[in-house]
């Protein structure tokens, strides 16, 4: 135990680490027997020249180890909740039913000291997309590194998209569509007639000033509207809205998305899904299938996998394994928790083991998607992370029980 700790701390102090002896999961596929050079916060290449690596700490991996980009949980409230049923610890919802709250930024509530974060890291996660919930438009999601002791140090992108919800409300879905269309239309009006609006010479608009401002990047296609929808008909209706208005769309949930695989592929609308949810958990999921991810991928839809969980975001690799069980190619499943979410949410130079990428790297003792494989090392932005959590501390504390007198 002490040896391992010393070893980890020597890595933590290293400016430069040369990783040898494992299989690398690269964009070109799995490469056996290659070396990977990490320098500072960056990946400095695969199989680098010996001249570059002289001063590096060399890490020889046990046989069978697999080096992969660290994982990205694409839909989570990590750091926004400590205990689900204790409302004062819950910060992912504006709690305003049916409201438009595009200006809300969840990054403002992110707690980098949350006990959930080290636990999530033990699943090989380096990065999370934090999402707001509640209302019609919940607010802006953010991308954070699962390291750093301040909000500013952790935040990678303060706004990666505006989040909205279909279905599950009391009124008709048509009403939801109407309100979204009205909001987008009014945002365009606001842009064009801002001066009139400021002089109070414009009719009332569908949202308040900061919310309209926050909708501008959506209308301009700079960030996506990330919309939760399970039912095929709901996805179809929102696809139509996106086509009409020119906004970028990301579908979350998408239990019945396979029914619209070709349309989603043509529009290149990514789907963030959980392959474990094979219902029908609700009337919106009657046609859910275990091979949803595989069918979407086959049609050319960018697939992102998520646990949709905060406390159990560490199980992302289990979710990916189940997508493979449902027919998704292994490499695509890895990409669905690394490169694909990085692309969808504009995390440049992330999600790939290639030169110039951010050094977010996880090493497992075997196939990262199998529970038998243990996480051996994790770097987030080049920082070697201590692989321990509050749960490990509890284990240590109760390893021996008080003995009876």
């Amino acid at each position: 135990m002490i040896g391992v700790l010393l070893f980890a701390s020597s890595l933590a102090n290293a400016d430069c680490t040369l990783i040898a002896g494992g299989d690398l999961v690269t964009p070109e596929g799995r490469v056996a027997g290659a070396t990977l050079l990490l320098e500072g916060q960056t990946i400095h290449g695969i199989n680098p020249d010996a001249s570059k690596t002289g001063a590096c700490v060399e890490l020889d991996l046990p046989e069978g180890s697999v080096v992969t980009p660290a994982f990205i949980e694409a839909h989570t409230s990590l750091g926004l909740v400590e205990v689900g049923l204790e409302k004062r610890t819950v910060d992912f919802s504006s709690n305003e039913a049916d409201k438009v709250r595009a200006a809300l930024r969840v990054a403002d509530a992110y707690n980098p000291h949350s006990s959930l974060i080290p636990i999530a890291r033990l699943g090989g996660l380096s990065t999370a997309i934090l999402v707001p919930s509640g209302g019609l438009i919940s607010g802006q999601g953010a991308a954070v590194d699962l390291s750093g002791t301040s909000q500013s140090a952790a935040t990678v992108r303060g706004s990666v998209g505006v989040y909205a919800h279909m279905g599950g409300r009391d009124g008709s879905r048509a009403q939801t569509l109407l309100r979204l269309r009205e909001l987008i239309d009014d945002t365009q009006t606001y842009r064009q007639q801002k001066r009139d609006w400021q002089r109070d010479a414009l009719r009332p608009l569908a949202a308040e000033r900061l919310d309209l401002e926050a909708m501008l990047p959506v209308v301009d296609g700079e960030v996506p509207l990330v919309l939760s929808a399970e039912r095929a008909a709901d996805i179809e209706a929102t696809l139509r809205l996106a086509t009409e208005t020119g906004i970028r769309l990301v579908i979350v949930g998408g239990s019945e998305a396979w029914l619209l695989a070709d349309e989603l592929a043509q529009a290149q609308v990514p789907v963030i899904l959980d392959p474990l949810v094979y219902g029908p958990g609700s009337f919106e999921q009657v046609h859910a299938r275990a091979d949803n991810a595989a069918l979407l991928h086959k049609a050319g839809v960018p697939v992102v996998l998520s646990t949709f969980s905060s406390h159990n975001a560490r199980n992302l690799r289990q979710n990916a394994a189940n997508a493979v069980r449902g027919g998704l190619p292994w490499e695509t499943a890895i990409a669905a928790i690394t490169a694909t979410p990085a692309e969808v949410f504009g995390l440049s130079n992330q999600g790939r083991l290639e030169e110039g990428n951010v050094a977010n790297v996880a090493i497992f003792s075997g196939d990262p998607l199998e529970p038998s494989s243990k996480l051996l090392h994790l770097w987030i932005r080049g920082e070697a992370i201590a692989l321990t959590s509050r749960q490990d501390a509890l284990l240590e504390k109760y390893r021996e029980l008080p003995s009876a007198p």
């Binding site: 204790e86 219902g279 029908p280 159990n312 189940n322 069980r325």
Partner: protein, 469 residues
């Protein structure tokens, strides 16, 4: 493990018990449930295969790993579990496992399938009789909707038996029911033949939150305990009345008016069953100190707890649970969704097992029950990676033999041993790999799942709803 009295206590789904006739004069708790209560719906006769599963690694959950083994099923029972080439048996078909694995059917001690069925709906939310904190007289069997699509999904994940429980809104939520996962028209016909009765009780946050928010009792943990102790004290009084009555009735001569039997109380009958050791208590309890309080209550009234459910802090009192022979039904890694779940750790099952207590991985989820093998695998490898002393056989028992014990059906299922029911899963890989799926599933030797065929839905809800891409 099954005491004869337990058989008296239930109506058997398929085999009428020869002892089911009530005693002529006296009423006993046991006969009360079974007397004249043959199921209205008989289990339909199903084709029990005579089959030899071969070319498999057999994990018996009884200590053996047979690398090149075979399992013989006929007449609904396991006839042989052995190493080597398959024997030649007249009339038996061969099932080539193609190098896969064979395990006992999986058993879930904690399901709400049927009582909170899919798809989630107000009309079918029948799991909590949350109109009074103490409702021992309600039965999950009477809420269970056998058309729940989740039943067939669970079978496809290798689950062959489960306990369906009322929810945890109440201090005493009512009777659980132990079912075989077979398609029937009513719940009674799904009852696991000869399984004992169970009762759901709950401690901690849920009852006090549900009733406290209505400004009624219980609103605190001490209120919880008072409610439960009051219920048992009252049942104890009625039990004494019955014992006096039975004593008097046995000595009664025909020439005088007989003693008057006490009035029936459905609520108290369930608790009397607990006091007499005939109904197995299944207690929802997260925190170690809550479990200790409940153990103290059980001690006060002289009964044993069969299983603590959601027992996330069992690891803190695993020595006591081992000594008292209380099994621990837990998840692999759920934690933190409420404060009493804050100290949950993924090593819980492994630590409990290491101490000699019975660990169980339960689902409490229509999603989790589809992959109970994956949940056990995560709990197992959490233990292995932390250097705890657990092995593959032990971890397989967390979803087979140990839940069978917690439900009192371990003489019938839970391991691959000659004479047990033919509840068997053929996997296409190791059950602890996240890539593996159940290839073929048998219950009582009946093939209920086969990945090579595209089955029609058992559920009437899904029937006729198929859509094409």
């Amino acid at each position: 493990m099954l005491a004869p009295t337990l058989f008296l206590f239930v109506s058997c789904a398929t085999t009428p018990s020869p002892t089911s006739a009530p005693p002529a004069e006296t009423w006993s708790l046991g006969s009360h449930e079974a007397a004249g209560k043959e199921p209205i719906e008989r289990s339909p006769s199903r084709a029990q295969e005579s089959v030899i599963i071969h070319n498999a690694t057999v994990l018996t959950a009884a200590g053996q790993r047979i690398e090149s083994g075979h399992v013989v099923l006929s007449e609904g029972r396991i006839q042989a579990v052995a190493e080597g080439a398959p024997p030649s048996i007249d009339g038996a078909t061969l099932l080539d496992a193609e190098g896969g694995f064979v395990t006992p059917g999986l058993i879930d001690t904690h399901s709400h399938l049927g009582v909170y069925p899919s798809p989630s709906s107000r009309a079918h939310s029948d799991g909590n009789e949350a109109t009074s904190p103490t409702t021992p007289g309600v039965w999950a069997e009477h809420s269970f909707w056998p058309q729940d699509p989740g039943i067939q999904r669970a079978v496809a994940g290798g689950v062959t038996s489960m306990q369906v429980l009322p929810g945890s809104a109440n201090l005493v939520g009512g009777r659980g029911v132990i079912l075989q996962l077979l398609p029937t028209r009513g719940s009674r016909a799904m009852r696991f033949p000869g399984a004992p009765e169970t009762v759901k009780m709950a401690c901690g946050e849920n009852p006090k939150r549900v009733y406290g928010s209505r400004n009624s009792t219980p609103s605190t943990r001490m209120g919880n305990l008072r409610g439960q102790r009051s219920a048992f004290a009252s049942a104890q009084r009625l039990l004494e009345d019955w014992e006096r009555y039975e004593h008097d009735a046995a000595r009664h001569r025909g020439d005088k008016p007989g003693p008057q039997a006490p009035k029936r109380s459905l609520d108290e009958e369930t608790l009397i069953g607990v006091l007499r050791g005939e109904i197995l208590p299944q207690v929802h309890c997260y925190r170690a100190d809550d479990m200790l309080s409940f153990l103290q209550l059980a001690d006060e009234f002289g009964f044993s707890i069969r299983s603590f459910h959601h027992a996330l802090e069992a690891y803190k009192i695993r020595d006591i649970l081992a000594e008292k022979e209380v099994s621990v039904s837990t998840w692999a890694d759920w934690w933190g969704f409420k404060l009493e779940a804050y100290d949950g750790i993924p090593h819980n099952a492994a630590l409990v097992a290491e101490s000699g207590a019975r660990a169980i991985i339960h689902s409490d989820s229509s999603v989790g029950i589809q992959r109970l093998n994956q949940e056990a695998a995560k709990a197992y490898y959490s233990g292995v990676h932390a250097g705890l002393n657990v092995d593959e056989n032990e971890a397989l028992r967390w979803i087979t033999a140990n839940p069978a014990w917690a439900l009192g059906i371990d003489s019938e299922v839970g391991t691959l041993e000659t004479g047990k029911r033919g509840d068997v899963v053929v996997w296409n890989g190791h059950p602890f790999s996240h890539y593996s799926s159940a290839h073929v599933v048998f219950i009582d030797g009946v093939r209920v799942h086969d990945s090579a065929t595209n089955p029609s839905p058992w559920s009437d809800f899904l029937t006729g709803q198929e859509v094409a891409q």
